[in-house]
Amino acid sequence: MTTTSTMSPTTLNPQRVDPSAVVARTTSHSSVQESWVQILAMAWRAVKKMRRKPEQFFDVLIQPLLFTAMFAFIFGGAISGSVSDYLPVLIPGILAQTALTVCMATGVQLREDMDKGVFDRFKSLPIARIAPLAGPMIADLIRYGIASVLTLVTGLVIGYRPGGGVLGCVGGVALTVIAGWSLAWIFTWLGTMARSAQSVQGISMMIMFPLTFLSNAFVPAETLPGWLEAFVKVNPVSHVVSAVRDLFNDGAVTAEVGWALIGCMVVVAVFAPLAVRSYSRKM
């Protein structure tokens, strides 16, 4: 929407409102540029909320520390023979798992948020329907970033030495952030569909656990029974984990990286429109 002088003055004695002029100025939808400004405004809101409620960062801070150390020392010997041999397998797996946990929080928080009165206003404003969904997801990039870096640092502290060097690590973290953001659309869609935040939490758990544990995140796929191995190999999380391993451990941009990115794009292409549609219908 354009702002002209007749629309904006709010002094005590403003120019009179002229309805026909306002009607003539209306547009049938938000332009791409307007939508982008709206998404950024919603992202600003989400960041403000994060800063005021730091307890939201609990999962992002604790999970990387706790799970990395715990899984390494418990499964290290059994799966790879030693903790140090397991770390190159484990760290990318934990990264994927942490990213999915953050995704889940995205859906739950959106649902909680949508129940608040302010969403009535968002719906009544002439803004792109995607803005209230995409805004918080941009803010969540911060959370993915913190979680990924923290996981990697914990790994380094307990002895992980990635062969990919700094560039490989940056690449791996970047891929995790992209993957987390893409998969979050699934949970955002759930958030717009479900009746309550609790139900989003419940359904998300049922999706998240199979997605992470029925992947190669913690164990080599070859050790699984054939039928399970088949599922593990098509699971997008497996591709992300393999791609992050290639980047971390070898610094190599392999075909897996390509597959992971394609998988992410497919998820966004399917679930972003579904989420927007379900959000618009909810009104």
Binding site: V17, Q38, G117, L125, I127
Partner: protein, 322 residues
């Protein structure tokens, strides 16, 4: 301004499952007026407003706002209408200033412009001192004012107010009324819902009375009130056996039928003009009839309702709803 209606809704229908919340309601709101939708809780007022504001899909009928089709062009409608809900639609996690800035940004104002407007509105609504405090410290009245301020950022030509004063104390209520009147002098049109006849009376140019999803009347507040008498004189006779005599006196004097209440010796007398209360009392004394208590009461929404839906015998389908 051409004779363009602000709102033109025909046969609006909303169903929630089997329950018909809004049943073929017509609304015609003229430009520049305050139009009141009056009805008890659950009558369908809010649902009607939400449909017109594109917050609920319209199940049947047709609605236009300033000539723009509500169902076909929701994005345009949202640029024409400012909505202030029954429960303040502001963000509790932000301050008042941040709320206004966010809503202004979302509507395409530049950051600097949004800041100026937020400041202006905070000043206009007396929220300057509280501007940077969290909303959890706001009183009900302050939240309502912030909510209304949020609806005015782009100065929409049509403003929906859903029960703007429900739950406010009398003083805050009076302030809200003043603010609403001010908006109309700016050229805005207002569609408001209320449960209170006196609020409709104070503010609205015309009123539609809604009951169980149907419009049962539409008129000026004065015309509505005269249907039940402007006010009523309630008296208790000293001697209950005089009731018939007293009723006779009233009938002869005012030409109105007093309403006898179940308690013996009590009656409500509709008064087209409150000044005639004295005449009634004098006549009763002249007739030698003693009075034990007397009061003059304004008609309540209940009475208007009874009067309007009382001849509801011709609307037996009301019973069928629900």
């Amino acid at each position: 301004m051409a004779d363009l209606s602000a709102v033109r809704a025909e046969s609006l229908v909303k169903n929630f499952g089997d329950f018909r919340a809004v049943d073929e309601i017509d609304l015609h709101v003229r430009q520049g007026e305050i139009f009141g939708v009056l009805g008890p809780n659950g009558a369908g007022k809010t649902t009607t407003l939400r449909m017109l504001a594109t917050l609920l899909p319209i199940d049947g009928g047709h609605a236009e706002i300033f000539g723009v089709d509500v169902r076909r062009e929701p994005h345009r409608i949202r640029q024409l209408v400012g909505v202030t809900g029954q429960y303040a639609s502001v963000d509790d996690d932000l301050t008042a200033r941040e709320n206004l800035w966010l809503f202004a940004r979302l509507q395409g104002l530049t950051s600097a412009r949004a800041k100026t407007i937020a400041g202006d509105l905070l000043e206009r609504f007396g929220l300057q001192e509280a501007a940077d405090r969290p909303l959890s410290q706001f009183s009900g009245g302050m939240r309502r004012r912030l909510d209304l301020a949020s609806s005015l950022i782009t100065r929409p030509p049509l403003i929906f107010l859903d029960e703007p004063t429900t739950g406010l104390d009398p003083r805050t209520r009076g302030q809200m009324w003043d603010t609403i009147r001010e908006l109309v002098t700016d050229g805005s049109t207002i569609l408001l819902t209320t449960q209170y006849l006196d609020e409709a009376d104070q503010l609205a140019d015309r009123v539609a009375v809604i009951d169980r999803g149907r419009k049962v009347a539409e008129d000026t507040p004065d015309a509505l009130k005269t249907q039940v008498g402007d006010s009523s004189l309630q008296l208790s006779l000293a001697d209950g056996s005089d009731t018939a005599l007293a009723a006779d006196v009233v009938r002869r004097l005012l030409g109105e039928e007093p309403v006898l209440t179940p308690e013996s010796g009590r009656m409500n007398i509709p008064l087209p003009d409150p000044n005639r209360a004295a005449d009634v009392l004098i006549s009763l004394r002249e007739a030698g009839l003693g009075i034990s208590s007397v009061s003059v009461a304004k008609p309540t929404l209940d009475e208007v309702f009874l009067a309007l839906t009382g001849h509801g015998a011709d609307e037996p389908q009301i019973e069928a709803v629900r």
